[in-house]
Symmetry: C2
Subunit: 274 residues, 2 copies
């Protein structure tokens, strides 16, 4: 293990692995100095090289944070070209007619539950919000959980899951009613009182948005927790209804139309992403 | 990007990042030859170095697969020493008296929804089952999803989520009744018919096991899908009842006793893990 002098190869390999395992977590230079038994100046040089390797292969970037809480952190930024290419590939999969489910729904759990795809979606969603200082990712069970977890991983923040019913195993909860835009029914969502401290800056993530009722419910819930919603990101938003009950959401994909009669799904990447 | 000759530093850094982003996925040597504009012999040398770096820092290992479908893959093996250290740390957190919830439950969502903790739990669970040839990880919504997703990520296989109610957006479903061991109530679980192909080898993952009723339900459900359950892994299993309705489960932590009166939680790592 550490504390024995390492070659540059070894330091760079270890540094990239350790940083990228914990995105957006600041790790001190001292940690690497000790692990590699190397001087700070050496580690600084290694970091410059590691950063250029990651950027060269478009695998994210490394940032140096100066000051008392200083150190270095890895951010899995996805560039626009790779984003569009990846999203187009998802659209090609989702657009197949055998994904059409009675009711005009699209079967997509095999895609969004795939860990590697969920990771990439999470990194793309996170890329839209790195400039906000997010503390928590919030989602509503169930289907959005994998991509929300991976968004939290990329941002380096915890996930909070809102439940449909208040579960006995999470202590006292705050519950609110909301109107699900698609079904127009009054439903319930609840969250453990201790899940979020007051004044947290929250990013709402979900797999699908139609009218936005669920997202609006989560915003109302955040009011109860005295938290601030800094953004809303979804994988798919439908073009209809055009006016949602929430503003300022980012969707990676636009579901233009589901033509049940001719079994056609029109879905396309959002070309206005970062 | 690629196709321009790279230095060894750069190749090793890129190789480690690319392999570890997709655990247990075999990547061909040709892919790296093209990306780095290097000969196969050079890449083979790089792989030996990358492997020794990862093993040296106890960050997993790299395996070379020979034959027509050959290539190289990264496996996030967690060694026993690191496993016990990590689990002991979780126990120290979970054992605090303010985690006790009326009903004798323990508040643990802040821990198991943390992406970095969930990743490590997933890698430790995966380490118990790398020797089995798993095709899918199966979990029951909701709280087990983050650790199940990360177990799937480590194993390089997709996640399948069993639902409590049959949702309209997943097409035709198979539903079964099961008896929740803890509440002794008959409940329902359902899964989309297209979620799993016949003859899949499945690993069941969950956050908590008391009597094992939920796991047993998932086993019965797998019978309906003509799939084979290769293992059951849970984060926490209670010591009582001693005899569960399923055999051969692996739990990372043992919940010995919850002493409500004195507000004591006795929880300890399983010392018999791989």
């Amino acid at each position: 293990m550490g504390n024995i002098k390492k070659k540059r190869n070894e330091r760079i390999g270890g540094l990239i692995k350790i940083l990228s395992d914990q995105p957006n977590k600041v790790i001190t230079l001292n940690y690497f100095c000790e692990l590699f038994a190397a001087a700070k100046s050496t580690i600084s040089e290694d970091i410059v090289i590691a950063k250029s390797i990651l950027e060269d292969f478009q695998l994210g970037t490394i940032q140096t944070i100066t000051g008392a809480l200083g150190g270095v952190k890895y951010t899995p930024v996805v560039n626009k070209e790779k984003t569009i290419e990846f999203l187009q590939d998802i659209c090609n999969k989702l657009g197949k007619e055998d994904r059409l489910i009675p009711g005009g729904f699209i079967y997509m759990t095999d895609i969004i539950y795939s860990p590697n795809i969920a990771t990439k979606i999470g990194e793309i969603l996170a890329t839209q919000f790195y400039h906000k200082d997010i503390n928590y990712v919030l989602t509503m069970e169930t289907k959005g959980i994998p991509i929300a977890l991976m968004t939290g991983k990329a941002l380096g923040v915890p996930l909070v899951i809102v439940r449909r019913d208040s579960r006995v195993t999470e202590g006292s909860t705050v519950s609110i009613n909301y109107v699900s835009g698609s079904s127009n029914r009054i439903q319930n969502m609840s969250l453990s009182r201790r899940a979020l401290p007051k004044d947290s800056r929250v990013l709402i993530i979900d797999d699908f948005m139609k009218a936005g009722g669920t997202a609006k419910g989560m915003m109302d819930l955040m009011d109860e927790f005295e938290c601030k919603v800094e953004g809303i990101g979804v994988l798919v938003a439908t073009d209809q209804p055009e006016i949602k009950v929430v503003d300022n959401y980012v969707s990676l994909l636009h579901l233009r139309e589901v033509d049940i009669k001719n079994k056609k799904i029109h879905i396309a990447p959002n070309l206005n992403l970062k």
